[in-house]
């Protein structure tokens, strides 16, 4: 059952449209990530769901209660929506202890004080914070602050929890641990979470579904696997993963395959809907799918090695091919000069 439904949401700042008709659903126990470049409207969408931004059209429903409806003018304020929101900056109240930060929502709901104590304790224990209850936020590390922010948003069992770039304030090493921990917690507690992120690897690792936003509309949505392996548009393909791009002309399309032509090379690839025979085309292939071949073979091109970089677990080679530059991974250094590169036709997408 859908815990959160957003329908055809429009929002603008002054004359500047930010959201141009966004729809999404979030089912119980599901983690959905809003992914997109900065300015795509993902944070605005999250804030609109929370009631902190006012859309001018569309509707938002939480569980079976409509909280915003542009047509009837209904707009339940943020404090009436009963959602949990974890801010990017955590926004812990500096004048309250960890315990009081978490207990505040329960006090507002006039929960009897004995219940408050037990529920706060339970929430803090769940997030391994029990020993920090009497500390103030400034006495905590970044990771601890993040967990307090989460405890504060979870303690009153909101039907939906909203996370705004929950990991971006942690340093790189901690972030990977926190990512796994957060995913585990959400699954274990059967939470329904909507999470904003600009980091595609974070979205891939944490979500059941990803919504990719581009310029105020949803570009594509699907499971992480679909988003990564079956992009429908060039934008989606390019946004997810590290990629090589090749510009050329589409010489032929047949049976779902397209032939991309450049000066001195011809490659077959999977034709995407936007590919038009005889038009300009862009070929896109993931960095890890391109291979340095020992000799000419099927769907190969020859390029000159420009430079090689040692990355620790592998080498990254940079090749030049006219105006195109191609990168490929390899497990050993390469000699200077020209090399053959294999681009498997099912791995090369032509847009």
């Amino acid at each position: 059952m859908a815990e959160l439904t957003v329908n055809d949401l429009h929002l603008k700042y002054g004359d500047n449209p930010i959201l141009k008709g966004v729809a999404l659903t979030l089912n119980r126990g599901e983690v959905v990530s809003l992914l997109g470049p900065s300015g795509s409207g993902k944070t605005t969408l999250l804030r609109a769901v929370a009631g902190l931004e006012v859309p001018h059209a569309g509707s938002i429903r939480i569980a079976d209660k409509v909280v915003f409806d542009g047509a009837t003018g209904l707009d339940i304020p943020a404090e009436g929506r009963n959602l949990g929101l974890v801010f990017q900056s955590y926004a812990l109240w500096p004048h309250k202890t960890v315990h009081d930060n978490v207990a505040y929502a329960l006090k507002l709901r006039r929960v009897p004080s004995a219940d408050i104590e037990s529920r706060v304790k339970q929430a803090l224990t769940q997030l391994s914070l029990a020993h920090l209850a009497e500390r103030f936020p400034h006495q905590l590390s970044g990771g601890q602050q993040q967990r307090v922010a989460l405890a504060r948003a979870l303690v009153y069992n909101p039907p939906v929890i909203l996370l705004d770039e929950p990991l971006s304030n942690l340093d790189a090493k901690l972030r990977e641990e926190a990512r796994a921990w957060l995913r585990e917690l959400i699954v274990k507690m059967q939470l329904s979470a909507l999470c904003v992120t600009h980091d595609q690897s974070e979205a891939l690792a944490m979500s059941d579904r990803i919504l990719l936003l581009n310029n105020g509309v949803i570009e594509q949505q699907g499971t992480p696997q679909q988003m990564y392996s079956e992009p429908e548009t060039l934008f989606t393909a390019d946004f997810m993963g590290s990629n090589n791009r090749l510009s050329g002309r589409i010489a032929e399309i047949s049976n779902g395959a397209a032939l991309l032509e450049g000066t001195g090379w011809r490659l077959w690839g999977t034709a995407k809907p936007s590919a038009k025979q005889g038009g300009e085309g862009t070929g896109l292939i993931r960095l890890e799918r391109i291979r340095v071949a020992s000799a000419q073979g099927e769907n190969c091109l020859e390029a000159k090695l420009a430079t090689s970089m040692y990355l620790g677990d592998k080498w990254e080679h940079l090749f030049e091919l006219g105006a195109n530059r191609l990168r490929a991974y390899g497990d050993r250094p390469l000699a200077e000069g020209r090399h053959w590169l294999a681009l498997p036709r099912e791995e090369l997408w032509i847009f």
Partner: protein, 561 residues
């Protein structure tokens, strides 16, 4: 943005209503009175422009207008360059000992102008301490302090702090790299100041210039004390002298003069608002907030120290030492020895007189208890506009500017009329409440700046976090925002304490048995020629402000915005 229900809106509506009444009632009464041919309580009054016709036909009015303009222009020409240079020296150079000097620079802006002017009379007047000493040592004392140019110079020098605070905060937000670039091409420190730093903070200096000109038009204590001996009038003293001009209360003439003053000051206030917004915009564009490196002054050190030292001597040491000495001598003149004339009688006569003792208590009370209530009122108004971007917030924004344009003397007069005009309020006129109300309204714009800068420091997300966990607006204000700004509010209380101790002109017309405060008492005693008591009371007044200043410095309260 949100609908917090009738209960949520009730305190806000009430706050807006009370503020609007407190600000607009006195102003409308001045306007109404200025259009009558006689005081409002006179049965024979008629509506018309007679009052304006009278003052426009009075040559004294035009002379006062001219004098006001000359003094305001003169002090602007002195205070702005000097304040800019001092700010540069203090912010950007390696002048030794500048951290100790900094609080001293702000002193003239915390001492009552009435007290400062009195200090100049006893220190540098015809028989002042420094005049007599100079005559003894050099045979001449080449200065006079009672002419219009002299008043402009004194006003200019004592208003340097007002320029200094804006120029130095603009300099703080300007990266050092532009100055270092000038240094590497071979410019001397003062060349750098004149060709790079000061032009870059031009918007702040321009704002200060308008501010100083505006303060020049408002000037009251200084021309009252220094202009009197030679009979020079400015607009505010012209209005003050009108009180007794026709024998009977000439409220209509005073109101007409007041309207003329407001007609000059109100556009200046609006201009200041615009310029300040511009200056802030400019500062954020230029401000790299990079590390500020001090410019080595080298041999220019002595020039800088000389300018700073001379200014401190003339603007701070001369008047304050004059008062301190005068408070402890019976009399002073040529041939009198300080040692022989020493006495504590001046203080004794202050403490023997119940009126003066009451004035001291009232002054302390209005600064401490009154100041706290005032800060509470300002906070309520601050919350009425906090994070709300509707028409009512804009209305309040402009509303708080209105008292800024009404000099204290006029505001006090207007409140006197309010208390006389509305019979239910009349009994309150002889209580300290009337004084407190006038003070609170007069300093509304200043106080709101303090409160709003505290409120701005609270991150929006802290309040949004409270909303999302379910707190309604009123609860957020009380339980999240208010506790977070408590240090700012304590600082504001201290600053309000200091300005309330310093205030004098607002009380002039509200002075009555029961409402005595030191500032207004000084004006009245000075008119009566009681120099000894004035000296002792002035010193007590400086002491009260000094205590506030010491506490503020101790707790690191920012003395400026």
């Amino acid at each position: 943005m949100t609908r917090s229900g009738v209960l949520g809106e009730f305190p806000r509506g009430l706050t807006i209503l009370v503020t609007a009444t407190a600000v607009l009632a006195p102003l409308s009464l001045i306007l109404y009175q200025s259009l009558l041919s006689a005081p409002f309580f006179d049965a024979k009054k008629t509506v018309g422009l007679d009052a304006y016709a009278f003052i426009f036909a009075d040559p004294d009015f035009w002379q006062a207008f001219l004098n006001s303009t000359l003094i305001a222009a003169g002090m602007t020409l002195i205070a702005v360059p000097l304040g800019g240079v001092l700010a540069f020296v203090m912010e950007r150079t390696d002048l030794p000992g500048k951290r100790i000097v900094e609080p001293l620079i702000l002193v003239p802006s915390f001492v009552s102008p009435m007290v400062l002017s009195f200090g100049y009379v006893v220190a540098a007047g015809p028989v002042g301490f420094y005049t007599v000493w100079a005559n003894d040592l050099l045979g001449v004392a080449p200065w006079g302090i009672y002419s219009i140019p002299a008043m402009a110079v004194i006003a200019g020098l004592t208003h340097v702090p007002n320029v200094y605070v804006y120029a130095s905060s603009a300099l703080k937000s300007l990266g050092s790299d532009v100055e270092e670039a000038a240094r590497t091409t071979g410019a001397s420190p003062f060349r750098v100041a004149a060709t790079v730093s000061l032009p870059l903070i031009m918007p702040a200096l321009l704002f200060s210039a308008v501010l100083i000109f505006f303060l020049g038009i408002e000037l009251f204590g200084l021309p009252l004390v220094l202009g009197d001996p030679e009979g020079h009038l400015v607009l505010s003293t012209y209005l003050y002298k009108l009180t007794n001009k026709l024998g009977t209360p000439s409220y209509h003439l005073m109101a007409a003069t007041a309207m003329c003053i407001v007609a000059i000051t109100f556009p200046l206030v609006l201009l200041q608002r615009r310029l300040l917004q511009n200056a802030r915009k400019y500062a954020t564009i230029k401000g790299k907030a990079g590390r500020i490196r001090e410019l080595p002054l080298g041999r220019w050190k002595w020039v800088a120290a000389g300018v700073l030292g001379f200014w401190l001597f003339v603007a701070v040491i001369v008047p304050l030492s004059g008062i301190a000495l005068r408070a402890f001598v019976t009399n002073w003149g040529i041939g009198v020895s300080l040692y022989e004339a020493f006495t504590l009688d001046n203080f004794k006569s202050v403490f023997d007189e119940p009126t003066q003792v009451r004035a001291i208590w009232n002054t302390i009370l209005i600064g401490t208890v009154g100041g706290a209530i005032t800060v509470a009122c300002y906070t309520a108004i601050g919350f009425a506009t906090h994070r709300r971007y509707d028409g009512w917030s804009r209305f309040i924004d402009y509303l708080v500017l209105v008292p800024r344009a009404i000099p204290g003397l006029l505001a006090g007069l207007a409140f006197l009329w309010v208390f006389l005009f509305f019979p239910p309020l009349t009994p309150l006129r002889t209580t300290i409440f009337s004084m407190w109300l006038a003070y609170t309204v007069v300093w509304l714009a200043y106080g709101m700046r303090l409160i709003q800068s505290s409120l701005l420091q609270v991150s929006t997300e802290l309040e949004e976090a409270a909303r999302t966990v379910g707190a309604p607006r009123g609860k957020i204000s009380r339980e999240i925002t208010l506790p977070l700004i408590r240090h700012g509010l304590l600082g504001s209380w201290l600053l309000v304490f200091m300005i309330f101790e310093r205030e004098y002109s607002t009380g002039v017309y509200l002075l009555a048995p029961g409402t005595e405060v030191i500032g207004a008492e000084l004006v009245s005693l000075w008119q009566g020629g009681a120099i000894d008591v004035v000296a002792a009371l002035s010193l007590i007044n400086i002491l009260l402000v000094g205590i506030g200043l010491a506490i503020a410095l101790r707790f690191g309260v920012r003395l400026r915005d």
